[in-house]
Every structure is written in C-alpha cells, then in structure tokens.
Symmetry: C2
Subunit: 143 residues, 2 copies
DNA sequence: ACTAGTTGAATAGCATGCTATGCAATGATA
DNA sequence: TATCATTGCATAGCATGCTATTCAACTAGT
C-alpha cells in the first residue's frame, strides 16, 4: 500500500513548521531571541504577570516545556519571577525592560517571516489557509 | 502594534505540526517507532539502500539530524549499514526484516492520523489545503 | 603525482517538546 | 482537624532539529 509523504498532511505540516521556525530563528537571532522565547513573549506582551500555568494554557505546550523555556528566558534576562501573593506554589512571570523593548522589532521579524511564507498567496487564499489550519488543529484537539 | 498569534501562519503551523507529531507518536508507539524514524522509513520503504546524503535530500532535514536519527534506528534494530562499494566515505542504509514488516501497520497509523486531522474537511478542501502547504513550503525554500 | 578544494559523516552543544516523577502548597472531606 | 486528593512547578530522561566543527575520502587542476 503506497503512502506518499508529499501527499501526507502530517508530513507537509512538519516540513512547513520547520521552515517557519528556521526562518523566524534567522530573523530574531540578532535580537537574542529564540522561537519559543518569542512565542512566550507574545503572550506576555499581551498580558504581563501571567503564571506558568496560564502561559501553558495560552500557548498549548506542556508544563515541563514551558518550565524549561522560562529557565532560559530568565537566564537571558527577558523575564523575572515574583512570588504569587495568593498561592505559595506559583509565581507570576514579569517582563524585563529589555523584553518590553523587543516587542516591535520581534513582531516585525515575525510578520516578515509570515509574509515570506505566504508571498505566493492572495489575500483570500491566506484567510482560507489560516482557516484550514485552525480547523485541522480543532479536529486534532477534539480527537 | 498588535500581533495576534492566532492570526499568525507560523504560530498555527507550529501548533498544527506538534499536534500531528503527538498524534502520530501515540499511534506508532506500540510499534516501537518514533515520528522521525517513521519519516525515515517512508523513504527507505520506497527505496532501500539509500545513503545518508540521499536521505537528507529526500526528507529535507540537516545531515546532523539524520545522522542522529540513524543512530537511534540502528540501535532499535530498524536499519543496518553496509559499506558503499564505490565511495569509502559513505554507507548504504538497509532495512532490517523488522522494519520491512512495520510498513503496513505504520503507514496505516499515519493514514489514521491524517484522517483525524482532516476529518472536518471535504475532499476538495483537503486537496486545497495540501496545495496551500506546498506553496508555502516552496515560498520559504525559495526565499 | 601533489596540492587544494569538495564532499560524506560523525560529534559537540544547544533549543524545543514530550512523558514520567517527585514535592510542596492548597483544598476538600470525613 | 487529620487525611486524601489536587494543583503548580521542578527535574530527569529522551527524541528531534539546528549550527558549527572536524576528519577522512574523493576530485580536480596544475
């Protein structure tokens, strides 16, 4: 029974995501950021002071993954942790001035990468593409 | 300037690819396979005896990545290396009987995962989706 | 044939992700 | 309130990927 990888949604999704990540990495490396750090900053730029648990929910990664990303971000001076006043187990994650200052150049880099990926698509096709990805994500989350 | 991750092709692609990989992993774990091993087997089932360099080209991963995947596959009894008769630097990678026997159940698992992801899409939408992913891949490879 | 450049792999080092555990702080309940 | 379950994080261990480096084997040009 044939199984052609070029016709497999999973294979294409994997390849596409690696190209996105590599492209973004090239663009944000000069800023001292890595892709997962950028993704985490997106959530914190939107709302500072989230707990690790809230970050996990918003970015859909496992808790252990987020814990490790936060360790590297703290090491790189992007965040600092403050003890949570109401729950001794958790901490709130706060952006440093450095991280706040990276918002514009970093999001600009991400926009440029998205533009490079979708350069060949019309505006309608782009909307369609995003919608299809969302539906695939929803199906997998449901299953 | 706002940058909403849910409207970012890169963010969605990353999330979707992780869900694909996680789903596939669940399905092929009983077979003793990991996602990258499966991807490599896809190429070798199609043509046995490829060199590491040829695998790298067909799967679009870096040489170092493939080298490490092959080490794990050899450890797991999926492949064996034979010295190349014409080039002392390279080896040809050959499937073991075990790996050959995994073809049907493994590709079936991958089909099931693709089906789960695309369950909500019509046949036309699926074709459209694959085409859009290929075009995004092509754009990023070109840029 | 020699030297110089190229090419195929291995290895080191690190970022992301995941599963599985362990632990301490909270909560809920008998 | 003493106990048990839940919850928030940290850590260990491993798979994938990438870049950078190194080395040996092959090629080409002189």
């Amino acid at each position: 029974m044939t199984f052609e990888k070029e016709r497999s949604a999973g294979f294409l999704a994997n390849h596409m995501a690696r190209l996105f990540a590599n492209g973004l990495q090239q663009r944000i490396r000069p800023l001292g950021l890595a892709p997962a750090q950028f993704m985490t900053l997106l959530a914190l730029w939107e709302e500072d002071g989230l707990t690790q648990r809230e970050l996990v929910q918003r970015l859909s990664v496992e808790q252990a993954t987020m814990a490790n990303t936060l360790i590297r971000m703290e090491r790189d001076g992007l965040i600092e942790r403050r003890s949570h006043p109401e729950d001794g187990r958790s901490q709130s994650i706060h952006l440093t001035a450095k991280a706040v200052g990276l918002r514009e150049p970093a999001t600009q880099a991400a926009r440029a990468q998205n533009e490079a990926a979708l350069a060949d698509l019309s505006e309608d096709e782009r909307m369609l593409f995003l919608g299809l990805m969302r539906r695939a994500i929803a199906s997998m989350q449901a299953g």
